[in-house]
Structures are given as structure tokens and as C-alpha cells.
Symmetry: C2
Subunit: 151 residues, 2 copies
DNA sequence: AAATAATGTCACACTTTTGAGAAAATTATA
DNA sequence: TATAATTTTCTCAAAAGTGTGACATTATTT
């Protein structure tokens, strides 16, 4: 039986990835525990979301940066990023959601936001290079491909 | 001034696309009306969601099918689908969300579900063809590209 | 087996969300 | 301008969601 706290966090990431304002009961159900137990580990919703955010930042983000640094060849980089996205699974969905949330004021001073920006700048660059190399249809803008990729 | 009911539906699609359990007040705000007015057009949340679903099924889905039928050339088809996705805008996000929702029991008997399946079968086929033509890296599975595309 | 820690159950107060009635205010229409 | 339709305002009660205390139950450790 995995550590309860860990299981709660994983459940929360899964649930919040689909629905950021889902009732905590859902998270508890998903983790196969009581809501009361959940509240023993996390004082309130905000705390839980905050921990999820940290967990995501540290695991999902690292994977992305590693993928980018895995090669100098844009096509390989892109592929690595795709696989990194797969491996992150549902974390990726929440990663995106949290950085798009209206409550989240994006500010480049913040290290997390800076890293987030760095990832997508890198992504942008890769696409541009691929277009120069004629391997990607120039009609597809980096923005669109990025949106695609975030899905 | 656009028809109120229409505006409510569009607002709802926009809001629910980001957060399926967002309070109806948000939808009302987004439509620049009162919550009371919203309730005069839709008895309850479920009814509103249901109408959104219909709206999406009929507009977004049609666009996709049209895109697929626009050509016999897989690359052109893929491109058309991408643009169709862009044009559908936020509807696309909810389209996906609703068909993944846990409350939604996917059953191929249902016409909507069948159409949904048909779209992704077609998508799958296009990717396979592109891979055969050597225009897409075979390492990228159709499933992943599909997930990508859904974003 | 006894002590300890973790989880569950039930109850409670509190907040937010929901849905609807009644009447005033606004807007559209004849 | 008078009339009708629509929307807003204010109100309220019911429902759902949240967080916590007190105590019972179950697991784990010693």
C-alpha cells in the first residue's frame, strides 16, 4: 500500500487535471480514503493544490527540460518532448491548467513562471528550425502547434 | 445585441471548457446577464450542459467531418482538421471534455458517440497513411498524435 | 497483548451555490 | 405613448461543499 499522502496527491493531480474545482470528495474517492483523512494531510483545498503544483513543477517540468537538452537535432528534441509529455500523463494537463488559471498571475520574476516560459520558448525555437529545414509546414504557426502539444 | 439564449450557450461553452464545474454565476457574468435570467432560459445546470453538448455536437463535429471529406490527400485532410479545430475554438475543448467525462458512458449505439468514434477512426487512418508515405515519423503513434490534436 | 499510530464514522457549524417567486426597472414594439 | 416582453433586483430556502471536533475502529509497532 503506497504512502497515503502520495496517493492523495496523485489522485488530486488526476482529478484536478480534468476539473480544477471538483469537490474534494472526488479526490478522496479516487484515493480510496475518507474526506476526513484527506483533511488530516491537507488543511484545505489551497494547500492541496499548492502541493500538486510543486509536485508537477518538479517532476513534469524537469522531464521537459531534460527532453530539450537531450539533443541538438530539433526533430529529436520534439520527439523527446512528446514522449516526456506522455510519461508525465495527467500531470501535464494540470501543469497547463495551473499556468493558465485566471487566479494565476503569470510573472516572469517567479522562477516557476520563468522556467515555464523557457520551455515554450525552446519549443517555439524547435518548430521554427523544423520549418526552416522544411520538415514542418510553415502554414502551421508555432502557436498552434504549441496549443496542440499542450493538449 | 445577439440573442440572449445564444449568448448564454456560447458563454457556457467557453467557461465549461476551462472548468466544467464552474459556478453558473461565472457563465452569467461572461454572458453579461444576471444569474436569474440564465435560470429563465435553462431550468438547471444539467439542462445547460446538455444544450451545450448538442450545440457542440452539431457544429464542431460537422466541421470535422467536412474537413475529412474535403480531400483524398491525407496531408490536406490533416491540415483541414487542424484548421477546423481552430475555428471551433473553445468548443473543441468542451467537445473533448464531455466525451471524456466520467458521467458520460460512451456507447457506440448512440449516434453522437458513433460519430465521435468515426472522426477519430478517420484521423487514425490519415496518420497511418502519412506514415506509409513517410511524411510522419512512425515512432509517433496515432494515439499520441490524436491526443495532441485534441488539445 | 498492550501501546501507538492511522483511518473511519458521525455530527456540527459555516460558506457557497443553486433555483425560484415577486415586483420594479428597462427595453422593444405596436 | 401605451403595451408587451425582457431583464434586473431583491429575497429566500434548499442543497452541496468545506473544515473540524470527538470518539470508534483498524493496523502497526514494541
Amino acid at each position: 500500500m503506497k504512502d497515503t499522502k502520495t496517493r492523495i496527491i496523485e489522485s488530486a493531480i488526476e482529478i484536478f487535471g480534468e476539473d480544477l474545482s471538483a469537490p474534494l470528495q472526488k479526490v478522496a474517492d479516487n484515493a480510496a480514503i475518507t474526506r476526513r483523512t484527506l483533511h488530516r494531510y491537507f488543511a484545505d483545498r489551497n494547500e492541496l493544490v499548492a502541493v500538486c503544483r510543486q509536485e508537477i513543477e518538479s517532476s513534469c517540468k524537469k522531464a521537459m527540460l531534460r527532453a530539450i537538452q537531450s539533443s541538438n537535432e530539433p526533430l529529436v528534441q520534439l520527439e523527446s518532448m512528446l514522449y516526456a509529455g506522455i510519461n508525465c500523463g495527467s500531470k501535464y494537463a494540470l501543469f497547463k491548467r495551473l499556468h493558465q488559471d485566471e487566479n494565476h498571475y503569470h510573472n516572469p520574476e517567479n522562477k516557476n513562471c520563468a522556467d515555464y516560459d523557457a520551455i515554450f520558448k525552446a519549443f517555439h525555437k524547435i518548430i521554427i528550425q523544423l520549418q526552416i529545414q522544411g520538415k514542418v509546414n510553415p502554414a502551421m504557426s508555432p502557436q498552434w502547434i504549441q496549443t496542440l502539444h499542450m493538449g
